[in-house]
Subunit: 284 residues, 2 copies
């Protein structure tokens, strides 16, 4: 079976439209005279991006033959968690970034205290969105909360962030950097995929496939990012401190093949395969 990257950019754009529409209707809307927290939540959550994480939620729901209506609130919750992590990462006590996606970061726009609270509010809101998803039953909603909390928490995304700060202060081995990336970005990507399966009430064996696919595209994506940063002369402490560009490209290709291998047997896997290839070849 041959798949081409073909129209994956169109597919992503269409799904981003669906996700943006859902976020716009689900994010709290203040009355006249509402507090700044409403604006700060929307400012960051509605700022675009390719919406790859929530797309994975929708696509894995489709892969399992589910109705994406049930997956949309989960997809929005994943994006809220991703957005909160960016807001907090940008704060002066973390990366101290002034700009994100061509506009001022939340604390530059609203001040540090409001940015802190907007991140807290998006994280909190994400769990409420899931728990109150009217298109799934309580079993699925409770499981989805558990999946997301575990992926975002002290042993997932936050744990990876802590490792990242630790490795900024000492040399780290390739294995350690991979483990850090797996936690820092891979766990949330894996949760995004898993939530689509939860929404579809998919058979358990699909969860392992989704996890393999997600971790591999996540790590490949990070490698390509790191390679592009090296090409651009921006030398952070990443996997590029222990790999040559050729080695990193080879590893990214292997990871992509493993990702494809994990899902290719499913009938509706075409877009997931195309996404994996597209992530590998972007800007390279």
């Amino acid at each position: 079976m041959a798949f081409s990257i073909g129209n994956i950019e169109d597919v992503l754009a269409k799904n981003a439209g669906l996700i943006n529409g859902a976020l716009d209707s689900l994010l709290p809307q203040g009355d006249a005279g509402h507090s700044v927290i409403y604006d700060a939540m929307r400012y960051s959550a509605m700022d675009g991006g390719k919406r790859i994480r929530p797309y994975l939620t929708l696509e894995f729901c489709r892969l399992a033959g589910g109705d994406v209506t049930a997956a949309l609130p989960y997809a929005c919750a994943v994006e809220c968690v991703h957005t909160y992590s960016l807001i907090h990462d940008d704060l002066p006590c973390m990366d101290d970034d002034d700009m994100r996606r061509g506009k001022p970061t939340s604390h530059k726009k609203f001040g540090e205290a409001n940015a802190l609270l907007a991140g807290d509010a998006l994280l909190t809101y994400a769990f409420g969105l899931i728990a109150e998803n009217p298109f799934a039953d309580a079993e699925r909603n409770a499981r989805a909360v558990s999946v997301l909390a575990s992926a975002a928490g002290h042993d997932g995304m936050i744990g990876g962030q802590v490792l990242d700060m630790m490795y900024a202060e000492r040399e780290a081995a390739l294995e350690e950097i991979v483990e850090m990336e797996r936690k820092k970005t891979g766990e949330l990507i894996a949760a995004a995929a898993a939530l689509g399966l939860v929404a579809a009430d998919a058979p358990e064996e699909m969860f392992a496939s989704a996890r393999t696919y997600a971790f591999n595209i996540g790590l490949s994506f990070q490698l390509i990012d790191d390679i592009l940063d090296v090409d651009a002369g921006d030398g952070e402490a990443t996997v590029m401190s222990v790999l040559t560009v050729d080695e990193a490209r080879g590893l990214a290709a292997e990871l992509t093949a493993a990702a494809i291998d994990a899902v290719v047997r499913y009938e509706r896997a075409g877009d997931l395969v195309a996404l994996a290839k597209w992530l590998l070849h972007r800007n390279a």
Copy 2:
């Protein structure tokens, strides 16, 4: 029926023991060489205090004839959310406090970035604890997540925090201050009580009673705090900027009476009545 304050301090101490034991076993425990996030989460969550919020979860569960085993994970989740809010409130971009309960605040002990992440991790963990509560079914767990997310979020605790920052910059009327306090502290106290009822699968009519009780003791508690601060010469912009001490004491007594009135008809309300009286009369 006459209730005395009697042994409410013993009751609180016994329940705090139960809650501390549950927190100790439920909070993540790192392996040797674990990351600092484990220590930072425990440092703040295990720092004592009277545990009044989680006590309310247990006591409202008992009030409804429930088994506190099912309520304990919810109670711990409430305390994790309370703890996260204190860690973030203490940060330099918020209140910039160096000490809390006689020891250095989280960011003084672990640095700002780790304190930020420890708060994030406790908030995240709280929702996982609820969703995975093995002593309640998925219906109750999903409802409990929803109750807590709503109370802690942009229209609850975080919303109150934003109002508080707003009123630090301009005069606020009594009504506005009461609304701010209701959100900033009342909503989480009300959620603590409601979660006990969720755990016990209590009849709907009890939820309104719990809410009335919780808001009234919460506001009364805040008034007494504000009065004690005035007595100590510490003049923040609180309800004391618009009320005399006598007016504030009168209002606190009225609120306490209303709280007691909301629960006194229930057979097992003795300790809740004693708590309301005890909170009114402490240190005064």
